[in-house]
Point group: C2
Chain length 352, copies 2
DNA sequence: AGTGAGTGCCGAATCGATTCGGCACCAGGC
DNA sequence: GCCTGGTGCCGAATCGATTCGGCACTCACT
């Protein structure tokens, strides 16, 4: 006895040919009402449900869209921005009745395995939280001919890029600090490369940076505050933000900056902790700002000064781009606006 | 000109038949070394990569495993336990070279859409963060004949259940409080049903609860502290924990319990906030405990008293069960041990 | 030289649903 | 009675890779 009923079985039971059964069930064609009813009854009796793989082979659509997150889930989803992005993405994808498949790394590797990448049926893939130029996964999927969408990178011809106005946002934040009188501003950056390095960012390091948003945010800030030093965090986490901030703050008071700009809110939260540990008042002794406008309820009652990006909208825009690609159109790049949101963590430069 | 190269094209270019080309590329058979080299060269020149859908049709395997999370991602991934569970699951799945597809709800519905569920190619599915008895997604997937694994539920014949010893853990926690002298203990429970209700849990509500873990944790606690009242949170979030705890704590001091047991660490974090807001010292005026042993770094320096469950191991166990199912075996149920971890949030019952 | 094993490759079937061209049948019109 | 138009259904091809049975050819051994 065969395990699952096939269309052929349904057709036999209803006394029609498979082709007629198919038309009757899909409802897309010229079938007598009585026949259709017979086929439907037969399908119900046999508990028939069509094999999605066979349907995919014919239609060329699997209903699966990949989301590449360049880390293991444990770390990727610690970042509220990533979560919100995926939420917006799924919102848009769910109206296409398409599923989201996570292409993540694991403890061993920082990205999906090549075996996975070539085995899986994918109608499209979104580079969600990597922005990494020259990603092996990117190369592989492109070679496979999978339509791609990039969020914050990588940049490639024929791949729609969904991004925010990083430079402008950072510049606005810098002007905000400038107006408050800050001249000694240090940046705590997101990782420039995957090598887990923590420490000062020199020109060479910046030039070899592979993360588009990290580079652009620094460039934007320096367009207003030229030469502002930068320290790189080894990852995007509270702990890393704290460690990197400590490198900057744990020095004689005379050498200490009056403001710290973190390239993400999560890093900024770490910087706040470092400041508290070192007995620095915020914003009395030190101003701290972030980037993202992430949802960090546990920071309350502190309201972090930050640059708000429309993260969910970014996810939806990526989903829309996928829809366009699947419809055979070529979506345009999208650059979403950002907005400075002053909070309680920045204030006038301390006297003396 | 055809878009992507097919095996037939490669074969033609190498001057062999498609069947030989297939064998040559898969490396599984009797092919002359020279022929194999020719085929591989042809494949490389054409940039050939096999169509996963066609391979799936033949092999009956798509390489996709679904993870049902009964909420939209934004909420599901706010829960560090869910994230850690999925991390453990992917770790195990990645060695099967299998991808994880998220079957999530969206703003409209609390679960994946039926269209998605019947369209997607799935080798298996894991009910990851629902534990919901009588889930429509469960029924649908079972009807499709998709092998299933349940984490904390639903319970069904032929579906391996991966769970922890909820009752025992809650009982141990109750004894811990009992030893500290607490008699007036109130429980803040996880949702019993999906209806978003917040408030006291009576016998009927408990009986009609659809979440196995919530029920069992309450039963376990009451096995030691019979009749301990329970208040239900409308969701598993810090905000909900705070709201539910406030219902219990914002009463005359004489009516106030001396200890609050939350059914998750996230809820407990909310309870801590409510206590702080009401000016209650923890553990001086009130002891607070959680469940899960979740990673909540922002709680520091407070160390929450909690029952630690091996969440990542639970995910790996679910992944292992999937592997067994795919191998044609029938995995056994798994019940993992839990351990009480006393922290700084529980102490002796206050005098008076 | 003839028989045996053994190697290298091909043809055809298979996986299961979908779709298009076309056949047969019936009703209506002249 | 013949032709036209239309409806209802079927057969066969298609999507692309995989696999098994089998054919032809080579080499070694008697």
């Amino acid at each position: 006895m065969r395990q699952r009923a096939r269309l052929e079985d349904v057709a036999a039971r209803a006394g029609v040919s498979p082709s007629t059964a198919s038309v009757a069930l899909s409802g897309a064609g010229r079938v007598a009402a009585a026949t259709r009813a017979r086929v439907q009854a037969a399908a119900a009796e046999l508990g028939y449900s069509p094999d999605p793989v066979a349907a995919s082979l014919r239609s060329g659509r699997s209903g699966v869209v990949g989301a590449v997150v360049g880390e293991r889930l444990l770390y990727a989803f610690r970042d509220p921005v990533a979560v919100q992005l995926l939420d917006g993405l799924t919102e848009e994808l769910s109206r296409l009745d398409v599923g989201l498949l996570l292409l993540a790394g694991d403890a061993m590797r920082s990205g999906p395995s090549p075996a996975q990448l070539s085995r899986l049926p994918l109608d499209a893939a979104v580079f969600a939280t990597c922005g990494l130029e020259d990603d092996p996964a990117f190369t592989l999927l492109q070679a496979r001919g999978v339509p791609l969408v990039a969020v914050e990178g990588p940049v490639a011809a024929g791949v729609p890029l969904i991004a925010i106005d990083d430079e402008r946002g950072s510049a606005e934040l810098a002007r905000h600090l400038q107006r408050l009188g800050h001249a000694r501003v240090v940046v705590v950056t997101l990782p420039m490369r995957l090598d887990g390095r923590r420490g000062p960012v020199d020109a060479e390091r910046l030039a070899r940076g592979v993360y588009r948003d990290a580079r652009r945010r620094l460039v934007g800030l320096r367009s207003v505050l030229p030469g502002a030093p930068a320290v790189e965090a080894a990852g995007n986490s509270v702990e890393e933000g704290e460690a990197a901030a400590r490198l900057v703050l744990d020095v004689p008071a005379a050498d200490r900056p009056t403001a710290l700009v973190a390239q993400s809110d999560v890093l900024a939260a770490g910087a706040l902790r470092a400041a508290a540990d070192l007995g620095l008042q915020v914003p009395g002794d030190l101003s701290v700002a972030g980037f993202d406008g992430a949802d960090l309820p546990w920071l309350a009652p502190v309201r972090l000064t930050t640059v708000v990006q429309p993260t969910a909208a970014k996810g939806r825009a990526a989903g829309h781009a996928v829809a366009e690609l699947l419809a055979g159109r070529t979506p345009a790049d999208v650059e979403l606006p950002v907005e400075l949101r002053p909070g309680t963590t920045t204030g006038p430069v301390p006297p003396g």
